[in-house]
C-alpha cells in the first residue's frame, strides 16, 4: 500500500524488489504480526523500527524462511513466493544477516563467505583457490582488513559480524536484511558497514535495515517503516520524520495505568551498593545503590546489558572490576553461594532454563534453596518444609491443586510466584527480577506486580530489569536507563517520561 510512495523516490533502479501484504503470524496465545505490509524498493535502504516485541524479528524470520506465515502474500518480481524454508528464501535472493552470528566457528573466514554454496571446479571438487582469492578480493574492495584464512571462531565478535555482512555481498542477493547489524560494532566498523550498504544499493540491491538506533536511521535510510505490537503503524520517507515523530510512532499510545501502585515506598538503609562494576562481556563501569523498601527499575533495549547486570550483581557471572556490597557486606565475585548467604537473589528471565525444575513438584521447586533451614543432621524435616511452602502458597495465592502438582502444569504467573517464594523463603534483603512478567498473561502480570509492590513495602529492596514501559513506570521509585553496558541516565519516578527514557536508551 505504500509502494507508490517508495517508487516516487526511486532513481535508476526503481521498482519493488519484494512486496509483502497482509502478513500475519500467530504463536500460541500471542499475535506476533497482523496485517503487516512492507514493500522494499530496489537500490534503497528501508529501515524497520519498533520497540522490543513490536514484531520486527518475526517479520524478518518470515522473510528468511525460518517461520512460515499464517496470512498474507509475498511477491518477488511479480511472482508469489512461498518461502517455506531458508533454502527457498536464499534461492529467491533474500539474504538475512541475523544479529546472532550465523557462521561455523571451526571454518575459515573464506569458507564461511561461501558457506551457502561452495564453488566447485570440474569433477565437482571444491575450488579452494577461488574461495580464497574471491574472499581476499571482496575484503579488499570494501576495505575490510581481516585474514581470509583465519579460523572464524578466533575473531572478535565485531569482526565476525563484519564477515556476516561481507557474506551478503558474495552472493547474488537481491534483498539483504540486516538485523541490528551495529549492536557489536565499533564506530570505525559502523562506517565500514555503511560503506558496504551503499555499495549494495549501488548494485540495485534492496536493503532492509532493522534497528532501534535513531541516528543510524537518519544517516542511512531512505524510508522508514514502524511496527508496534505486531501492527504496521507508518511508512514514510525519512525526510518527513524528525526524532520526535519517529519516537511518537514507536511508542504511540499513552501508557494506561494498568499497574496502580502504593504511593512511595518507605526507604530504609542502603541494601545494595554497586560500584564501578565492569565485565568482559558487556558491563562498563556500572554504579548504583538501592535502599531497603525501594524499587529501582532498569530499562534498556535489547543488548543494553540488563541481564548481564542482573547476573553479575548476584554473583552468577564473574566481574572484572568494581565492588558489590549487600547490606554493607562485600559479595565475592562469581560466587552465588555467598550471594544467597548475604541475602541477594535473582529471579531469572529464563524461567524454564535457569529457574524451574520442570519435572519436580511445586513444593520441591519452592523449598529448593532453603532446604538447609528445614534439615536436621542432613535429613529434611518434611513437616516443617510443607508448612513453610503452604504458608507461601497461601500468602502469594499460588493457584495449584496441591503442593505435589508438577510445576510444569502451572501457569507462567504461578510458576513465577513459586520462584519468588523460593528466594524469600531464605530471607532475602535484595531481590533482582529480570523481566518478571515475560510470557505471563495480563491478569497474572498485575498480580506479580502487586506482589513485588507489597514486598517492597515490607522492606525488600527490588532491582527490576524490564523492557516494558508500563511495568517500569508503574512500579519503580527510580529508573535507571542502560545502553551498551552503561547507565546513561537515572530518573526519579516523577521526572521520568516515556520520551526521555527512550531517548536515554537510544543514546
Amino acid at each position: 500500500m505504500h509502494a507508490e510512495l517508495v517508487q516516487e523516490r526511486g532513481g535508476a533502479h526503481t521498482g519493488a524488489a519484494i512486496e509483502m501484504h497482509g502478513i500475519g503470524k500467530r504463536f500460541p496465545g500471542v499475535i506476533a504480526l497482523e496485517e503487516v505490509d512492507l514493500v522494499l524498493a530496489r537500490g534503497k535502504v528501508h529501515a524497520l523500527m519498533g520497540e522490543n516485541g513490536a514484531g520486527k524479528s518475526t517479520l524478518i524470520k518470515i522473510m528468511a524462511g525460518v517461520y512460515g506465515r499464517d496470512a498474507g502474500s509475498i511477491n518477488i518480481g511479480g511472482r508469489e513466493v512461498a518461502l517455506r524454508n531458508p533454502r527457498e528464501a536464499l534461492a529467491e535472493g533474500i539474504k538475512v544477516v541475523f544479529q546472532e552470528i550465523a557462521l561455523i566457528s571451526e571454518f575459515t573466514v573464506a569458507e564461511n563467505i561461501f558457506l551457502e554454496r561452495h564453488p566447485v571446479g570440474r569433477a565437482g571438487s571444491i575450488d579452494w583457490k577461488k574461495i580464497r582469492a574471491e574472499s581476499a578480493a571482496l575484503f579488499e574492495r570494501i576495505g575490510f582488513d581481516v585474514d581470509p584464512a583465519a579460523r572464524t571462531g578466533d575473531l572478535p565478535v565485531s569482526q565476525q559480524q563484519m564477515v556476516e555482512i561481507a557474506r551478503a555481498l558474495a552472493h547474488e542477493a537481491r534483498i539483504v536484511v540486516m538485523d541490528e547489524p551495529t549492536s557489536s560494532l565499533t564506530p570505525n566498523e559502523v562506517a565500514l558497514l555503511f560503506k558496504v550498504i551503499r555499495r549494495l544499493t549501488d548494485l540495485g540491491i534492496a536493503v532492509l535495515y532493522v534497528t532501534h538506533k535513531l541516528d543510524e536511521v537518519f544517516e542511512i535510510a531512505d524510508t522508514v517503516t514502524v511496527l508496534r505490537d505486531g501492527r504496521h503503524i507508518s511508512t514514510r520517507p525519512i525526510g518527513e520524520h524528525t526524532h520526535d515523530t519517529l519516537i511518537q510512532d514507536m511508542i504511540g499510545r499513552r501508557i494506561d495505568n494498568l499497574f496502580p501502585r502504593s504511593r512511595g515506598h518507605a526507604k530504609g538503609d542502603i541494601a545494595l551498593s554497586v560500584k564501578g562494576v565492569s565485565t568482559d562481556a558487556k558491563l562498563d563501569d556500572v554504579s548504583f545503590e538501592v535502599r531497603a523498601g525501594e524499587v529501582l527499575g532498569f530499562f534498556g533495549l535489547m543488548g543494553a546489558g540488563r541481564t548481564e547486570l542482573a547476573k553479575a550483581i548476584v554473583g552468577f557471572d564473574p566481574i572484572r572490576a568494581g565492588t558489590i556490597e549487600v547490606a554493607g557486606r562485600p559479595l565475592k565475585p562469581h560466587d552465588t553461594r555467598t550471594g544467597a548467604g548475604l541475602g541477594i537473589g535473582l529471579l531469572t528471565e529464563d524461567r524454564k532454563g535457569e529457574g524451574l525444575m520442570l519435572e519436580l513438584s511445586v513444593q520441591q521447586n519452592m523449598s529448593l534453596a532453603a532446604l538447609g533451614a528445614f534439615s536436621r543432621a542432613g535429613f529434611v524435616d518434611e513437616t516443617r518444609e510443607k508448612a513453610a511452602v503452604q504458608g507461601f502458597v497461601d500468602r502469594f495465592r499460588v493457584r495449584t491443586p496441591s503442593l505435589n502438582q508438577l510445576i510444569k502444569n502451572l501457569s507462567g504467573g504461578n510458576q513465577q510466584k513459586v520462584l519468588l517464594a523460593r528466594w524469600l523463603m531464605r530471607g532475602l534483603k535484595v531481590i533482582v527480577v529480570d523481566e518478571p512478567t515475560r510470557g505471563i498473561d495480563v491478569g497474572a502480570k498485575s498480580e506479580i506486580f502487586a506482589l513485588l509492590d507489597r514486598l517492597a513495602n515490607e522492606g525488600l529492596a527490588v532491582v527490576m530489569m524490564t523492557s516494558e514501559m508500563p511495568e517500569l513506570l508503574g512500579l519503580s521509585d527510580r529508573i535507571a536507563v542502560m545502553a551498551e553496558g552503561r547507565i546513561t541516565a537515572v530518573f526519579d519516578r516523577d521526572a521520568a517520561t516515556q520520551e526521555n527514557i527512550l531517548n536515554a536508551a537510544i543514546a
Binding site: P86, R87, A102, S105, H118, G124, S125, I126, F144, D145
Partner: protein, 333 residues
Amino acid sequence: MPQSLDAAHPVPPPAPAAAMLKALFRRSEIPLLISLLVVIAFFSIASDTFLTTRNIANVLGQSALAMTAGIGVAIVFISGEVDVSVGSLVAAVAIPLIVVMNATESLFLGIAAALALGLVVGAVNGYLSAYLGINSLIVTLGTLFILRGGVYLYTGQTAIPDEAMLESFFQIGNGRLLGLLPYPALIAFVLLLAFAYVMRHRPFGRQVYAVGGNPEVARLAGYSVKRVKFACFIISGLLATVAGIMLASRLGSAVHVAGLGFEFQVVAAVVLGGVSLSGGIGSLFGMALGVLILSFLSNGLGMLALATEWQLVVTGGIIIAAVAFDEFKRRRI
C-alpha cells in the same frame, strides 16, 4: 584490531614461524603422529621382534577392520550424531554374504546382499535419528542389540561355514599385496584416502562439518540438516559392511560372536583420533592415527607378554589421557 576504510593491504602478511607452528599443532594430527612414533619407538627398543616388516604389516592388517568402520563412525560423529551399531553389523552382514554365496557360488551376489543389509541398517539408523529426532546413541544401541539378537536367532548360536570356498573371497581377508601387505589394509587405506578427500574437498563433506558444527547455522545456509545426517548413517552402514566382509573372509564363515565389543574399539579410536563427540570437529586422518596407535599398543604390549587384563587397563588410561590433552589444548589456544 586495525580497521580502516582505506586499508591498502587486506591480504594478510605472511605468518611468522611461531604462528605456523601453533597452527600446525592445533591440527590434532600432529600430536597424534608424534604419539604413534613414540609408541613404535618404545616397542622397537623394548622388543626385538616388534620392528620387523612382517609384524608391522600384520598390525596394519589387523587395524584395517577398525579403520574401515571407523571412517563411517567418524563421519557420523562429525555430523553431530553417534553410531555404535557397527559391532553387531559386522557380524550380521556375514549372514547374507555367506548364505547367498553358498547358494549361488557368486562373490558378487554375496557382497551385494551384504551391502543391501548394511544399507538398510544405515537407513533405519538414519531415519530414526535424523528424521524422527530420536537420540542416535539410543537408536544405534537399540540396533546393536537387535542385530546381535537376530544373528543369534538365525545362526542358532553357531557359525555358518562358507561352503562355496571361492578363492576370490578367501583372498579379500587373507591375501597380501606382494606377499606382504594384507589386502584389508590396502582396502582400508584406499577408502580412507577417498573419504578424506570427500570430507575436505567435496561440498557434501563440508556440509557434514557445518551440520555438526552448528546445525542452526547450516539450516540458515540452506542445508538440509536431516538429509546430511541421514547420508552419514548410510555411509557408516556401508563401511561397516565392508569391514564385516573382510572379517567373514578371514574367519571363513559367518560367526555369531564375531565383532563382540568391536563398537567400543572403533569409538575409542575415533575419540582418541580427536573427533569431537559434540560434532563438527575432527578428521579422518586423526581417526586413522587413533586406530594405529591402539593397534600398535596392543600388539607391542602383547609382545612384552603383558597380560590382556593389563593391556585393557593401559589402553583405557591412554584414551582418557589423550582426550584430556586434546581438551586442554583446545581450551588454551
